[in-house]
């Protein structure tokens, strides 16, 4: 038997093992560094916010300066209202845009559309706020829930559009062919067969987009503005959790700081819940196919 001339010496083998351990260690540290901030955030939110969370927080309006107690009921409802308005506006636009990208349109036009969507996706949220301020606040001479909803809705559009396109492309061509071969019109094939097959994926995309915009503050600063009371008219300013947190966090009062932490905890829980919904939906999807 010939001995390979490349057999390592014992010293070389030790060095190689040491290198291997070092690389593994670096990778583990990097992996921990990725998840550590999440636990850090959750830890601080729980420590600082949990004690201020009580039933009043979910049911009462903010108390005037100087009084302790009160809650953010109006901000919680406000955030849900804004998310609802954003959904009504952003989902149809995004889904139909995604359908167009996946099923219609020439390659050239679609390249441009995709590029535009990606650029739109990268527009800083403060810019959305300023643009909507000019378009929907200045002409009507009032901040409003509508303006906030539109700003958030427009932010959703490119996200929903791209995920819709991606999940529609994943629907096998054979389903489209099977339906077309039954003499069904193309738009019906797309709306009833293709979209229905991809519905879970589209829903997932919508929730991802909602989770993304739920905590946005900047687009609401010049649009929804915030409100210390219940909003009874969508043409008027509305409270939102991020705005309330912002206002309380920069205030000089300890009680408000505590409330800000509690608000941050609630907002984080909302976003976490949305993300868990996404996980559950995607797991179902992989099971059925």
């Amino acid at each position: 038997m010939a001995v390979s001339p490349y057999l390592p010496t014992p010293g070389f083998a030790r060095l190689r093992k040491a290198k291997s351990t070092a690389v593994t260690a670096v990778l583990v540290i990097c992996a921990l560094a990725v998840i550590a901030p999440l636990f850090l955030v959750i830890y601080f939110l729980l420590v600082q916010g949990w004690s201020s969370l009580d039933w009043n927080f979910f049911t009462q309006l903010p108390k005037p300066t100087g009084e302790t107690g009160g809650g953010m009921a109006n901000a919680i409802v406000g955030t849900l209202t804004l998310l609802g308005m954003a959904t009504i506006m952003g989902v149809p636009l995004g889904v139909f845009g995604g359908i167009y990208l996946a099923e219609y349109g020439s390659d050239r036009a679609n390249d441009w559309l995709r590029f535009a969507a990606d650029v739109l996706n990268g527009v800083p949220s403060i810019v959305w706020g300023m643009v909507i301020y000019l378009v929907l606040v200045v002409p009507f001479k009032t901040f409003s829930a509508y303006a906030g909803g539109v700003a958030l809705g427009l932010m959703m559009v490119p996200l929903v559009m791209r995920t819709t396109e991606e999940v529609l492309i994943l629907v096998p061509q054979s389903y489209r062919e099977a339906a077309l071969a039954l003499g069904v019109a193309r738009w019906k094939v797309i709306m009833v067969i293709v979209v229905r097959t991809a519905l879970k994926g589209i829903a997932t995309g919508v929730i991802v987009a909602l989770a993304r915009i739920a905590g946005e503050t900047a687009p609401l600063l010049f649009t929804a503005l915030g409100n210390n009371f219940w909003n009874h008219n969508l043409k008027e300013p509305i409270a939102a959790l991020p705005l309330q947190i912002f206002a309380y966090a920069i205030s000089p009062y300890d009680d408000w700081h505590r409330q800000a932490w509690a608000g941050a905890l609630v907002l984080m829980a909302l976003i976490l819940a949305l993300n868990i919904t996404v996980r559950v939906l995607s797991r179902d999807r992989s099971n059925t196919h």
Binding site: P172, A179, A181, L182, G183, V184, K188, V189, V192, H289
Partner: protein, 287 residues
């Protein structure tokens, strides 16, 4: 066209076997004209995918209420040809056609003729069974009718039973029609797809290698089913399996390199083909 006597024409078709070898002209010129209706009357039909010509000058008359098998090696244009029969090829961008293609007298590519309307009359079953995953067995069968606006519950129920009976699936699924279509076995799924195609009551059923993904028992069931379909439908089936063509078709067309080489009674195609290329193919010497 239907009164020509069979014998002399048949003679003409089988003659080149002994006589001239080499690439015979399209055999259709001398094809016996069968008594009965013609489902597809196709003249000088050519088709291109972009710059590549996939079908060359195909002239063929496919008889009604018969099973016509289309055989040939991979890439010979047989699936392309089948897809042209209900304009499914139009889903592929960059295709172009020439020549005429009539289905029971109607010009399939005539001005103002819509592909959607054609496909109501010319249904298609695909290689891989493809029941819609979001729908139950019953919904799968009825989807074509529902999407074409049929709302009447009685009609839907009747078509559901008729189609499943026709597809020889009724007895196996009648007790769980609301289960997902995808819960069935491969062979059952393919019969479900056949039932789905039959539910919209087409005149012609195109089948693109419907058994190539199935085991022998499931295949036998589908072949049996094809035999019964012939009583009410015109069936055109593309198959890779020559035994299958021999077993279940009345007529066989042999395609090679985008051309129709020979078209004749199945028995004659497999026992005494008129063209040496056909003979080489059916005897397994190439392809």
């Amino acid at each position: 066209m239907s009164t020509l006597p069979e014998a002399p024409a048949a003679h003409a078709a089988s003659e080149p076997a002994k006589g001239s070898p080499g690439p015979a002209p399209a055999a259709t010129a001398s094809l016996p004209v069968a008594a009965g209706e013609i489902a597809f009357d196709i003249k000088n039909f050519s088709m291109w995918y972009g710059p590549r010509q996939a079908l060359m000058d195909v002239t063929i008359r496919i008889p009604a209420k018969k099973v016509t098998a289309i055989i040939g090696p991979s890439g010979c244009g047989k699936s392309t040809f089948l897809r042209a029969l209900n304009r499914m090829h139009e889903l592929t961008p960059g295709t172009r056609i020439e020549g005429s293609l009539r289905h029971f007298g109607e010009d399939l590519y005539g001005p103002g003729v819509e592909a959607v309307a054609i496909r109501r009359r010319v249904g298609m079953v695909f290689q891989k069974s493809n029941p819609f995953p979001t729908m139950s067995i019953a919904e799968n069968v009825l989807v074509g009718l529902r999407l074409n606006g049929v709302r009447d519950k009685e009609i839907l129920q009747r078509r559901l039973e008729e189609s499943l009976h026709m597809a020889a699936l009724w007895d196996e699924v009648k007790d769980h029609l609301s289960r997902p279509g995808t819960s069935l076995s491969g062979g059952q799924q393919q019969r479900l797809c056949i039932a789905r195609s039959l539910a919209v009551q087409p005149e012609t059923l195109l089948m693109d290698e419907p058994c190539s993904a199935l085991d022998p028992i499931a295949t036998a069931k589908i072949e049996e089913l094809i035999q019964t379909l012939r009583e009410s439908y015109t069936v055109v089936i593309v198959t890779h399996n020559m035994q299958q063509a021999a077993r279940c078709s009345d007529r066989t067309a042999f395609f090679y390199m985008g051309r129709l080489i020979e078209f004749d009674d199945t028995r004659r195609m497999f026992t005494n083909p008129g063209n040496p290329q056909t003979e080489a193919y059916v005897s397994g010497r190439f392809g």
